[in-house]
Symmetry: C2
Subunit: 307 residues, 2 copies
């Protein structure tokens, strides 16, 4: 369990949940209870890693009163955070959850623009000497260069810190070329390599491009991992119904924790844990949470095959 996981969320949010009996378009709804907590894919990574017993440091940018609420909630959740202040107001997301059918209707504010100085301040205060691994996940806010994750991966390399980058499209390719461990889902992989890309083949291509390893989540078909010494597929123990948001972040958390614990990663073993954690994340209604009992039950039963 040695090693601190730095989990970057460039576009932190305050996730607000409204529970309503039914969503009536054009109607007026009373919201008796409001839940809110810090959100963003990197925050999910940090939560899952902390739940699994790892040391985490949430890294991001916050501004305004919504930013203060995000910082407070991270503190209340027991997540250590190093947050860079920005002039803009941190965004909110609103999820309207209808009891009638369980559907969540989501409204994502775009988020504030980040100035070049703020981005530099964020980069300059990254505590490289304390980090065993750095994860990068989620959208990049306006004002930050589109290749931010590749930049972060390159800086991580300079400091001898492995980076795990969860991205799609060209950002996925750039992170692979920068030597990061890359993570994406099958759709994002195809967005990067073409619509007809085979998942196993595409995962290997990311390694050929320079990625230290690549882990691609493939929904009910489990996950594929590839590294310099081979490629593997792991299958979920059972089909689970629930909330898939956050399942990929659970995978990132497991991968990062394995790298933080040991530079020589046992990929079949990590893939086993990642599949169990992703399935256990689907069981919980809120992204960032995982069902620990299910995770422990499934962990020894996940089948991993060499490709």
């Amino acid at each position: 369990m040695a090693g601190l996981i730095g989990a970057v969320t460039l576009n932190l949010a305050l996730d607000v949940t409204y529970d309503v009996p039914e969503l009536v378009p054009g109607g007026s709804h009373r919201v008796a209870q409001v839940r809110q907590r810090a959100g963003g894919k990197g925050v999910n990574v940090a939560r899952v890693a902390a739940t699994l017993g790892h040391q985490v440091l949430a890294l991001g940018l916050v501004g305004g009163m919504t930013g203060e609420l995000v910082a407070e909630e991270l503190f209340d959740a027991g997540l250590t955070a190093l947050l860079t202040p920005i002039a803009g107001e941190t965004r909110r997301t609103v999820a309207v959850v209808a009891a009638s059918n369980g559907d969540a209707t989501i409204f994502n504010e775009t988020g504030p623009s980040v100035s070049a100085d703020e981005w530099r301040a964020f980069l300059d205060r990254l505590p490289w000497a304390r980090l065993s691994v750095l994860t990068c996940s989620g959208s990049v806010p306006p004002g930050i260069p589109a290749d931010a994750y590749a930049q972060l991966a390159a800086r991580a390399r300079e400091h001898d810190v492995p980076a795990v980058v969860d991205a799609g499209g060209s950002a996925l390719l750039a992170a692979a070329e920068a030597g990061a461990v890359v993570r994406a889902n099958a759709a994002e992989l195809r967005e990067a390599l073409g619509p007809d890309t085979d998942v196993a083949e595409g995962t290997r291509r990311l390694v050929a491009l320079g990625a230290r390893a690549a882990v691609i989540t493939d929904g009910a078909d489990g996950m594929v991992a590839a590294g310099p010494s081979g490629a593997w597929r792991a299958l979920p123990v059972e089909r689970v119904a629930g909330n898939p948001t956050g399942a990929g972040d659970a995978c990132t958390a497991v991968v990062a924790a394995a790298i933080a614990a040991n530079a020589e990663v046992d990929w079949p073993e990590v893939l086993r844990a990642a599949v169990a954690a992703s399935s256990a994340a689907v069981l919980t209604p809120v992204a960032g949470d995982i069902d620990l009992a299910a995770y422990r039950r499934w962990l020894p039963a996940v089948a991993v095959n060499s490709l």
Copy 2:
């Protein structure tokens, strides 16, 4: 134009508007632009009165960071406010406006509970000596007695300040008995006096109960006012399509302004202005705004008939 209008909003809100191309239940929506401003019926009254050139003082309770945003926005809008701090967090409302059909889907948070001490503090700091009229509108938050408006009307009477109370059901009857000028819409009047109540007859009954005057808005059928010296109906100049939220608040603003200017109210004249202002409020997309040009155009053309 003499006289300060105190506009009470016990359940102040931060009104957040999300513009989306289309509302897709169960879908995920990007919200490029977020508008937010202070809300609540009393705030609408204050805005309309200020727009019509009157002196206003917004009165209410605010708490937490959302409360700070409400206070800031009132300041930015040029509305003088006297706000009592509370421990709870001020509520938000979220209106999702779909460009596809213009429909607004609204989510109203319940709002914080107000303690007995906070309610007393609010009452104790009301600046009676400065007020020419007090308006009370909107919902009463948890913790404040249900007869809060009747209490306020009774206190106003002790201080020789006329009160205008916008309420429905039993709160409407209690305010009438407390000697306030009462305002409601036809549905609220029927909620108070029975489903078959004729609007003109019901308006007169409120005066018989003790109301100094009663003004009932009746949608496309205009408004009815009754006082000790008679009853009148005024009809809109034209049918207007738009956003009816805030039309009743525009009426309250006009009635309060007339009372603040002159204790001897010329009801037919006030009704004329109230109908023009309500129609002009419907023309604007946001509650609390009125189309001043339309108001001035319609004002001389409103027909008022004695009943």
